[in-house]
């Protein structure tokens, strides 16, 4: 059996993201469904630099595994993205 997939979620707590609501995402960890709960590590981050870049849509931003960006992030959007990532990883 292969190693179970681990995922890392960074919630941006920089000025722009915080003001536009990233603090609401702090409840993410408690809302992880059982299939994700022990696979996901949630941490805060200083400005991810995305708010200054037009290519990334709208704050608040969340970054998954250091490469996938969720913009205009809500808990639902992040959970959906995490489930997708989990599937990819299980394939």
């Amino acid at each position: 059996m292969s190693e179970p997939c681990k995922m890392k979620v960074e919630i941006c707590l920089g000025t722009t993201c915080y003001v536009l609501g990233s603090f609401r995402l702090s409840a993410l960890e408690e809302q992880l469904p059982p299939e994700l709960a022990d696979r996901v590590e949630v941490a805060g981050a200083a400005c991810l630099g995305l708010c200054k870049d037009r290519n990334y849509g709208k704050a608040p931003f969340v970054r998954i595994n250091g490469n996938r960006v969720v913009d205009n992030a809500t808990i639902e959007k992040v959970l959906d993205a995490l489930k997708e990532e989990l599937e990819k990883c299980n394939e």
């Binding site: 000025t15 915080y18 603090f23 702090s26």
Partner: protein, 397 residues
Amino acid sequence: MDMPNDVFVEMECFQLCHDGENVCGDDFLFERIENENRHLAVLSDGLGSGIKANLLACMTTTMALEFVRSNMDVLLSAEIIMDTLPVCEVRKISYATFSIFDLQIGGKSRIIEMDNPPFIHLRNGKDLKVSRQSMVSERWPDRRVNLAEIYAISGDRLIAFSDGVTQAGLGQAPNKFGWRREGALEFIQRKVEEEPEISARDLSQAVVMEARRHNKNCACIDDISCMVIYLRRPRRLRLLTGPPFRADSDAAYADLVRNFDGKVILSGGTTANIVSRELGRKIDMDMKLVMKAGSLPPPARMEGVDLVTEGILTLTEVAQRLEADPPLTTPVPLAAQEMISLFRASDEIEFVVGTKVNEAHQDPSLPVDLEIRRNIVRRLKTVLENKYRKRVLLRFF
């Protein structure tokens, strides 16, 4: 001899008012004359209590500070003060006492006293013997002005109080004659032995509280003031905020953290990221703190750094809190609280402001007052200097 820059003079005065009064009948003033390396402090006790006493005391401190600053003759100054004070209708006398400190770092300091308990010059836990020259004015023969000349060095404390301290507990066993100067001195010596680096702020407060404890039912039957002047190595703090103007100076910018002898704050996400990358130290941000952090992003940690915070919002909040008088009653967000206590525990604060022009914030309708970093830092400098008597340096990078 001490180099002036290696000595910081912390001057604090803690007071309690006579019960039932809402102004204090004792008054104090401080002034720092940077370019002359001179520090002035005045404590005055006005006759009686309440507004009348307060007026006498304030007039005295104001005049005394003015005279000492201009190096006016001691006796003449005292005479003018006594001539000027209004005469109390009931007692038919005009009366206020004073202790004036004119400190010269690395040189001779003068202390002028009239009718206040004699000040304490504490060095290595000992009350140094101070010789005083006594002068009497012809016009006010029953008032005696004492002049002392001392050399104060780093580590010394100069302590003055109003008679609310020395007379605490008067008439009650076991201090029939009050706490007296000896009692206060013993207490101070014990305190300093327990906590050799106790700040002027904490020591002055401790003395006043202890004095009150000597009174029956802990009452304030007089105004109680204690002034402490503490000469010591400055406790330094450096705060970095904003990315540097040129990207190729990131390494030099981060060196300001690595090579600093004192406490360090990083305020701003990009700032923290630059230092983290250059020094290879992780930023730890605990998501669980978000809910406890109040209305600001939570503080974060980095090895070798005392505090990491968000930038603009946090600095603005801190400036507002420091300026507010009376203090705001809303709960202080965690990051602001930590920054304020680091400021308060420092003598010398250096702001290093990175001047890279920030790309516009994404959303121009942000619901906060996004003041320019530079202006907030200037505001902080002003309030820390004027209200908290810190030495503040400002450097653009």
